[in-house]
């Protein structure tokens, strides 16, 4: 092995590591000397946008993160909330956008693996996976290949690990043509008094490495530079990691088994920047130092340098601090599960990360400087200008519009996707994909979790503040629509280049809206992830703050679903419909919207959101309603169609409104729900709503074999509508590219 630490750090090398000259000076200042090559690599990852949140931290601090039921907010591997009965739910969302664009199968698969680890690290058994996916326009030559690969990768990993993938969302928009988004979310359940944190403690305690061996996977930015030192010129090292879900499954079982003992003081998964960031984080949280002997790191490849070992992103690895004397017992557990186990160092009182290799110190850095001294930027921004309210034109043929929208890429069934996911394994999925929120029973109880991921990037682009509010509100509404009480959210904030003032303006605006919604709905943010620089050739993606919401349901037998259940049931609309076609799906698809100057999106009235939602939830909890659907993309028509298709029966509805019919049918006014119930029950509900001052309208009845609105203004055969809805995606995916 050549000694990379003899390499003189040049301005060029600093740049290759993604550090600015100012940042480099800061490193030298913090260390009191020039870093060596390995140290530079470590600073570069610790101070990267991904690890340090240098552009976003300032604004993230403003988000509400507390509620009486929050056990642990942002800052740990995942957020933790109390669901009563001594149990906690642990969850988080993460993005894997860039790797999934380069290699969709492995990129998406390792995204799932990474987020699973964040959750079981804290002591939870993962019980559900979700995903939020964004692809370019369907006609773009790469879209099909990317969609197929991502879905297969998510399934390939999740199915093998044996955690059900119970839902998600899938959108298409040209802004993602060169930069798809893959956000994965994991939800786990733990005992409230058995939650594990990452703060290391106890000078002299062993630092233990478990899981897979370390290879040269995913060594980023500096890959080129490092390749020159490995005498391996035959091929450039791929920077994509390959996931091994089988090992992950063993790792879950082994960790949970060890967590049943009292051996673990602290534990942390090796995520981005692997060994480095996990040790730094553990040491920093605990206010201690770490001394690691890199010779002890289990290695998959020969002649790995300290630089490579520290920066490798090999998957399926964890770092733990054990109580002294428990090593042998812990080792036996990992041996049983056929996983590597190695004591690679110990805790010190130096406050430093000290790395030795071949008997020499190859790195020695103050932990504080790696974490606290990381730069924080309050990047300049320009708020997105206010938009005009649009007057969106009517189409000639309403029937065609209904068929095109319901049977088109944006509203069609996602069955082709979720049939490739094992959404039932673990035996607690009681609401499968296809509804408003997935519902997963808390094992062995009558309680259930309701989970939904949502955001409407069109709105965020037109008006980030409204868009931010709406994303949070939509998850809240989806959870409500199945009968759940929304408790908290996680997020995956996907934006373009923060160094552009308009993009930073989108970021700040979305966060402002999200924060407002969280406060108004008592729905704090407990974890999340930021992904910036999502752009190709200078054109950024639509701002996409994906929100993952979790709620709880005390009596899962009361759960509501979207499908009509009995012909003759009366359909009731809760909530007022306004002239809000601006930035709607209808506007974009039927009229075309102006991407440079989009029209104002629907306004989110959070007080109203709460009032209508609480009313609907009470109906479900009281057993008055088991059929419910919220209104979102595509408005009333889309929701009615979903309920009819899912229930396998038609609709006859009559919408009374002062608005033009196309507005009444496609407006995306928020805070609305459709419910269906027997005639008597529906009448009772109408009265209750009236008395409570909740806007309510009886629309018609379920049944028959036609989808009919306003005496034939819309009238299509259910069989055709259902076929268009179910067939779009499979036929799209089967088409030759």
């Amino acid at each position: 092995m050549q000694d990379v630490n003899n390499i003189k750090i040049t301005a060029e090398i600093v740049k290759e590591h993604g550090l600015t000259p100012g940042e480099y000076d800061r490193i030298v200042g913090a260390m009191g000397r020039e870093p060596n090559y390995t140290e530079l690599g470590i600073y570069s990852v610790m101070w990267s946008e991904h690890c340090s949140y240098k552009s976003s931290r300032f604004h993230l601090k403003k988000l509400p993160t507390e509620a009486p039921w929050v056990i642990c907010g942002p800052g740990e591997n995942a957020g933790v909330i109390d669901i009563g009965d001594g149990q906690a739910v642990i969850f988080k969302m993460e993005s894997h956008n860039h790797p999934s664009y380069i290699e969709p199968y492995q990129g998406a698969a390792t995204g799932v693996g990474g987020i699973l680890r964040d959750v079981f690290t804290m002591g939870a058994r993962p019980v559900a996976n979700m995903n939020a996916l964004r692809f370019g326009e369907p006609d773009h030559p790469k879209t099909k290949h990317l969609l197929a690969g991502v879905v297969e990768g998510i399934g390939g990993y999740g199915n093998c690990v044996g955690v059900p993938t119970v839902g998600g969302e899938t959108n298409f928009d040209p802004s993602y043509n060169g930069n798809i988004l893959v956000n994965a979310m994991t939800v786990g359940v733990a005992d409230k008094d058995k939650i594990f944190y990452c703060a290391a403690a106890g000078v002299g305690n062993p630092v233990v490495y478990v899981g897979s061996k370390t290879g040269r996977d995913g060594i980023h930015g500096a890959t080129m530079a490092s390749a020159e030192f490995t005498e391996d010129s035959e091929e450039k090292r791929p920077t994509v990691q390959v996931g091994d879900p089988f090992t992950e499954k063993l790792l879950i079982e082994a960790c949970l088994e060890l967590m049943d003992t009292d051996a673990i003081i602290a534990i942390q998964d090796m995520g981005a920047a692997g060994l480095t960031s996990s040790s730094v984080e553990m040491a920093s949280k605990g206010g201690v130092g770490f001394e690691l002997n890199l010779d002890k790191v289990p290695q998959r490849e020969e002649n790995m340098t300290p630089y490579e070992m520290c920066l490798s992103e090999s998957q399926e690895r964890m770092l733990m601090v054990l109580k002294p004397g428990r090593e042998a017992m812990a080792h036996a557990i990992f041996e049983k599960w056929e996983l590597d186990f190695a004591v690679i160092g110990e805790i010190t009182d130096t406050g430093k990360l000290t790395l030795t290799f071949g008997g020499e110190v190859v790195g020695d850095m103050p932990i504080d400087s790696l974490v606290e001294d990381a730069p924080e930027y309050e990047r300049p921004y320009v708020p997105t200008p206010k938009r005009e309210v649009a007057d969106v034109a009517a189409v000639n043929d309403l029937n065609q519009a209904v068929m095109d929208l319901v049977g088109g890429p944006h509203l069609c069934s996602r069955r082709w996707i979720w049939e490739q996911y094992d959404h039932m394994v673990m035996g607690d999925t009681i609401q499968r994909p296809g509804g408003d929120a997935a519902v997963v029973r808390v094992h062995g109880t009558d309680k259930a979790l309701a989970i939904s991921t949502d955001v409407t990037p069109r709105y965020c682009h037109a008006d980030p503040v409204e868009g931010g509010r709406q994303a949070v509100a939509e998850t809240w509404r989806n959870i409500t629509a199945v009968g759940g009480t929304p408790l908290a959210i996680t997020n995956g904030l996907n934006f373009g280049n923060p160094e552009r003032t308009d993009i930073m303006g989108q970021f700040v605006g979305c966060l402002e809206g999200m924060g407002e919604a969280c406060r108004a709905l008592d729905y704090p943010i407990v974890s999340g992830n930021v992904s910036l620089y999502n752009e190709t050739n200078g054109s950024g993606i639509l701002p996409t703050p994906a929100i993952g919401g979790v709620g709880v349901m005390a009596d899962s037998s009361k759960m509501a679903t979207i499908g009509f259940k009995t012909a003759g049931d009366v359909i009731v609309l809760i909530g007022d419909t306004k002239d809000e076609l601006g930035s709607s799906l209808y506007e974009r698809e039927m009229v075309g919207n102006n991407t440079d100057n989009p029209s104002a999106p629907p306004h989110v009235d959070l007080a109203l959101e709460r009032r209508n939602g609480d009313f609907v939830r009470a109906l479900i909890e009281n057993g008055q309603v088991t059929t419910c659907h919220d209104l979102s993309d595509g408005g009333l028509v889309a929701a009615l169609a979903d309920m009819a298709i899912s229930g396998g029966m038609g609709v006859s509805a009559n919408v009374e409104s002062d608005l033009p019919l196309h507005v009444a049918l496609f407006s995306e006014t928020q805070a609305r729900y459709l419910i269906a119930a027997g005639a008597e029950a529906a009448e009772e509900i109408r009265k209750e709503a009236k008395d409570a001052g909740i806007p309510v309208q009886v629309l018609g009845t379920a049944g028959g074999d036609r989808f009919t609105i306003n005496g034939g203004a819309v009238d299509v055969a259910m069989s055709e509508l259902a076929a268009a809805h179910s067939d779009w995606m499979p036929s799209f995916m089967a088409k030759a590219s």
């Binding site: 380069i102 290699e103 199968y105 492995q106 897979s212 290879g215 040269r216 996977d217 391996d232 035959e234 091929e235 090292r237 791929p238 994509v240 990691q241 390959v242 996931g243 091994d244 089988f246 090992t247 998959r300 490849e301 090999s314 998957q315 056929e338």
Partner: protein, 79 residues
């Protein structure tokens, strides 16, 4: 003409299948296997009879479909 194609993982790319085979062989009492790697072997029956043309065309098939060149290498033999 027949084309025989080997698709193997690039050096340094994790090979979970190979690792599992190693493990299983050793569990079954087969000692002395230092490493195992698993790749794909694809045979194509081609109408083309010209070697150069066949090679060019199979090479394109490999790049576009049969191998994932981000993580895999391929090699082509014609018979």
């Amino acid at each position: 003409m027949k084309a025989r194609i080997h698709v193997t993982l690039k050096n340094g790319v994790l090979d979970p299948q190979g690792k599992a085979i190693e493990h299983a062989l050793s569990n079954m009492g087969f000692g002395g296997v230092d490493a195992a790697r698993q790749g794909k072997f694809i045979e194509l029956d081609l109408v083309e009879t010209d070697r150069d043309a066949a090679h060019a065309s199979v090479d394109e098939m490999c790049r576009k479909l049969l191998a994932n060149t981000v993580i895999e290498n391929y090699s082509i033999e014609l018979e």
